[in-house]
Symmetry: C2
Subunit: 184 residues, 2 copies
DNA sequence: ACCTGAACACCGTTCAAGT
DNA sequence: ACCTGAACACCGTTCAAGT
């Protein structure tokens, strides 16, 4: 298998790199021609690798979701090793907010977290989130009725760069107040 | 002044009505041709009344903001008459969530609440919100650090119909928990 | 097999011609 | 003054021709 031509592989990588860069900077409505030019290929080539713009965007968004999943699993590993869950949770939220603030694709990724798009990545994300929530609740650092779905919902509605940075910070603070009882 | 031809007035009204209907139902990316057809005019006529699609959408969004301002002022009037502020605030939030859930234009209106778009309507909105917040704080039904800007921020991030209705309800509940101390 | 780029379809916008 | 609808520009997508 994989009798794949070398130029094809190079082109695909180049396309993804170009798309990631332009989408992050200028948003999800960059022209396909622009992406092709930045990648140094013709539009037709772009469409050979990604049959539709949605496919290309999804590929990038999926990458971001994967990064999110990794961050969550790393956090969970530290908790499994005996660390406290609450700082992991707030750290995650803050990291997400920062990404979502400066990268349009990250925002799209966050918005898809709770929904049923993009393969089983979200399943993994939700599974880890559930374990994190359970751990945090054992510590008493989340209200007992707060669920993983609640956290996903909040991540979904994290404001992007349409809201100025200090307001984003404040939003997180409020979100935390909604899920964490005041320190005893 | 106002030597305005009767058909022009009729057409304008018809256009706005058509746009409101289609935008509410199908979102902000309805075609201008579709709106023109629904209004029973040619595209050129549409563009004579609204030089750009943004203008047309803004007109509708501004109407929604006006409705929001009226609801807020009515709530404030009841508080001025001696009523409690907290139920007015939560009622407002719930009403907004319902609108934003079924009307795409309402969602856009809510998203513009804190920002500096669309004339002085938002100034009025913020002024009233500030009075409401002050009243609620005198009752002790909001955390002392919660501001009108916070409430606007939350309204901005109210999830629209991309999130299913029960999740929207839950979101509001969490938002309220972020701003209201538990009942004494 | 894969790449190229001219061509098509769609939608926001314009403008010459009508009344 | 205002309306009409054919025409233009732009962008996502396709496809005949190349290698």
């Amino acid at each position: 298998m994989s009798a794949r031509r070398a130029d094809a592989a190079r082109n695909q990588a180049s396309i993804v790199r170009a798309a990631r860069k332009l989408v992050a900077a200028r948003g999800l409505d960059v022209g396909m021609d622009d992406i092709a030019r930045e990648a140094g290929v013709a539009v037709g080539t772009l469409y050979r690798h990604f049959p539709t713009k949605t496919d290309l965007v999804n590929a990038i968004v999926a990458d971001h979701i994967e990064a999110i999943v990794h961050a969550m699993e790393a956090a969970m590993a530290r908790v499994d090793a005996g660390g406290p869950a609450l700082p992991e949770l707030t750290g995650l939220l803050e990291w997400l907010a920062a990404s979502v603030g400066e990268d349009h694709a990250a925002k799209a990724a966050a918005t898809n977290l709770g929904s049923e798009t993009v393969l089983g990545l979200e399943a993994r994300a939700m599974a880890t989130l559930e374990r994190l929530v359970a751990a945090a609740q054992r510590e008493g650092s989340l209200y007992p009725d707060v669920t993983a779905a609640d956290l996903a919902l909040l991540v979904n509605t994290l404001p992007g760069d349409e809201v100025p940075e200090p307001a984003r910070r404040r939003w997180i603070q409020l979100a935390l107040r909604a899920v964490c009882p005041p320190r005893g």
